[in-house]
């Protein structure tokens, strides 16, 4: 790298545009190329291209290179299935609507509980001592282990799914809110105090604005964690929902559909994380630098 730079400096004439374009987008070009190769390899496994190509050379030893779709499906099968589910039969939309609803309710509840709790325990030292052991214990627990309890408490219905999403999402939010308050610049607080600002006033004008980036970072984490809840909450069955669809398709050996569901959830997760990220950038730009 460094030697190349040195040589580059020595040359006066500019490289041709194509080379320059490549140098600027090397990462994207390389990434796309590798991704295409991978998809081709995958497709070939499923269609037996590689097995057919190698059979004249190594005979039956090539057979393992033909993998039935039940094991791996294939990019073309997944794309065709996605087209069918989204456009032709439109069967996935009702699942998406249901999952989106349980996700929104679960995440909403996590924000409604986690943020005030985190902010309060960041602000009141003794409260943080009191809830500390619970937060630590709950944080160390794989929250999904609570699923059997949740089912005992509220049954198989919508409430169970909302609760498991809540359980997964609430901690990142609460913990980031807590540390947000704690990291507020002490000097600022001191100055404000010396001007005789009240507690509530302090909280509103100094703590909250400086906490926003932390809160958003916590939210970004929670958005991903909560996605797990959609799938796990429906392990034991449900009439609708993307998780239920994945589960049902898996049990019926429809691997193509499983992949469609997995990709839908991945895409939704990325989209939401990106959304939070954009808000973070907006806030960053707008916030007066302190």
């Amino acid at each position: 790298m460094s030697t190349q730079t040195v040589i580059g400096e020595g040359h006066v004439e500019r490289p041709p545009p194509l080379v320059r374009w490549y140098a600027e987008h090397r990462r994207a070009v390389f990434g796309t190329l590798v991704a295409i190769l991978f998809l081709l390899f995958w497709e070939g496994l499923s269609r037996g291209w590689w097995a057919d190509a190698l059979r004249p050379l190594i005979g039956h030893a090539a057979d393992p290179l033909l993998v039935p779709p039940i094991f791996i499906s294939s990019p073309s099968r997944i794309a065709a299935e996605a087209w069918r589910m989204f456009v032709v039969t439109r069967e996935i939309w009702s699942d998406l609507r249901f999952s989106a609803m349980e996700y929104a309710l679960g995440l909403g509840a996590a924000i409604a509980v986690g943020m005030p709790l985190g902010l309060a325990s960041g602000w009141y030292r003794r409260l943080s001592y009191a809830v500390g052991p619970f937060l630590a214990g709950f944080n160390a627990t794989p929250q999904v282990a609570l699923l059997p309890l949740i089912i005992i408490w509220v049954g198989f219905g919508l409430a169970a799914k909302i609760l498991i999403i809540f359980a997964l999402a609430v901690l990142p939010i609460a913990i980031s809110a807590q540390s947000a308050v704690r990291t507020t610049d002490a000097r600022l607080l001191k100055v404000a105090h010396s001007f005789g600002a009240g507690e509530w006033h302090l909280f509103r004008t100094i703590i909250l604005p400086s906490a926003v980036p932390f809160l958003l970072a916590g939210l970004r984490l929670a958005v991903g964690r909560a996605m797990i809840g959609i799938v796990v909450g429906e392990i034991f069955g449900s009439a609708v929902g993307v998780g239920a669809m994945i589960n049902r398709s898996g049990s019926r050996f429809e691997t193509d559909k499983v992949f469609v569901g997995v990709l839908v959830i991945a895409a939704a997760g990325m989209l939401l994380a990106e959304l939070v990220h954009q808000i973070e950038r907006r806030v960053e730009a707008w916030r007066p630098s302190v």
């Binding site: 039935p68 039940i70 094991f71 589960n247 049990s251 019926r252 050996f253 429809e254």
Partner: protein, 343 residues
């Protein structure tokens, strides 16, 4: 399958090195077990239709055939088939319906025996559900999606003019687990098989629909293997089926032995339950332990009717009679009839 061969050798290599510790803790097996061929078979639930699998185990029939057989409860037929495809087990005791779905997706599974060629389910509901239309909005328990229970429930709903979206369907596992959930009030309706049918009746649940009375041709529980295994290990499978058929004949002829086994496996000593369950076995066990073509045809037809996507409609793409036929030709069934006269 081909892929799993590779995975398995990798797994074996790593597990041999890392799992040595926990294995060393396990009790040492007798030295005579060393030359027995290991064979693992999954069952979808502890119910009456797996009686021969169990009885052959506790009577030592497998060892006499040179096999060391492990019976693993999978709590659901389709999950068992997934595990069968992974190569964890060599056989799975399950119905033909999930095979049809799996083969559509590229698996190559075959049923080589049968312990019942009709649907034995009775669908039970809580006492407050008196007519089919009360099912709307209720929670119905099945073993796992794609399993026989799932298909039975789909058929029932269709018959009642309801659709799957009218109810919530929950995966609960085998018959015993479904009954437990019904007892606990976690679900409102479940399909059950003996011995849980009699227990559910005793507990006052409402038998909403008796599918067995309809004598619907089906292949409900059978030994299922991959075609590769069948091709490469026909000998091991023949030994397994010999022990299995012997156990079936013992159960048919020796009521006491069969009932003792059931009491042990079902952990239930209620004579009413055990009597009804044994009667059920005697009524439904095919004497040649063979899957019925008619049953397979009906499974295919019903799946098509219920809008499942299926591949081949030829029963021979799901059944394989080679092992049973060889035993018939060798006079094994005649020998069994002589050894275990059925009263």
């Amino acid at each position: 399958m081909p892929m799993t061969i590779r995975l398995r050798s990798l797994k074996a290599a790593i597990s041999a090195s890392i799992l040595a510790l926990p294995l060393a803790v396990a009790p040492a097996s007798p030295s005579s077990a060393a030359d027995l061929i290991p064979f693992k078979i999954g069952i979808s639930a502890p119910v009456v239709t797996v009686l021969p699998v169990w009885l052959a185990q506790s009577q030592g029939f497998y060892e006499k055939e040179g096999l060391k057989v492990d019976v693993i409860n999978m709590e659901g037929g389709s999950k068992g088939i997934q595990v069968l495809l992974s190569g964890n087990i060599q056989g799975m005791h399950v119905g033909v319906a999930p095979i049809v779905l799996a083969n559509k997706a590229g698996a190559e599974l075959r049923a080589i025996t049968s312990t019942i060629n009709t649907i034995p389910f009775t669908i039970f509901t809580t006492p407050d559900i008196k007519s089919p239309k009360d099912l709307k909005g209720k929670n119905i328990g099945i073993s796992s999606f794609g399993a026989e229970t799932d298909i039975a429930v789909t058929l029932m709903l269709q018959k009642f003019g309801l659709s799957r979206s009218d109810v919530t369907i929950s995966q609960l596992g085998g018959s015993g687990k479904r009954l437990a959930a019904l007892l606990a009030g976690r679900v409102d309706a479940v399909p059950l098989i003996e011995p849980t049918i009699t227990i559910a009746k005793e507990k006052g649940f409402n038998p909403l629909m008796d599918l067995e009375a309809a004598k619907t041709p089906w292949i409900f529980d059978s030994v299922v293997v991959t075609r590769t295994y069948l091709r490469e290990h026909a000998d091991i499978l023949t030994r397994f089926v010999r022990a299995y058929v012997r156990a079936a004949y013992l159960a048919l002829s020796d009521e006491k032995a069969a009932k003792a086994e059931m009491i042990k496996r079902f952990k239930n000593e209620d004579p009413a339950v055990i009597d009804a369950t044994y009667a059920d076995f005697k009524r439904t066990m095919p004497r040649d332990a063979a899957p019925s073509i008619e049953g397979a045809e009906n499974v295919i037809a019903q799946l098509q009717g219920a809008k499942f996507e299926i591949g081949s409609t030829d029963p021979n793409d799901y059944l394989d009679f080679s092992i049973i036929d060889r035993l018939k030709k060798d006079g094994y069934f005649a020998q069994m009839e002589k050894e275990y006269p059925i009263k």
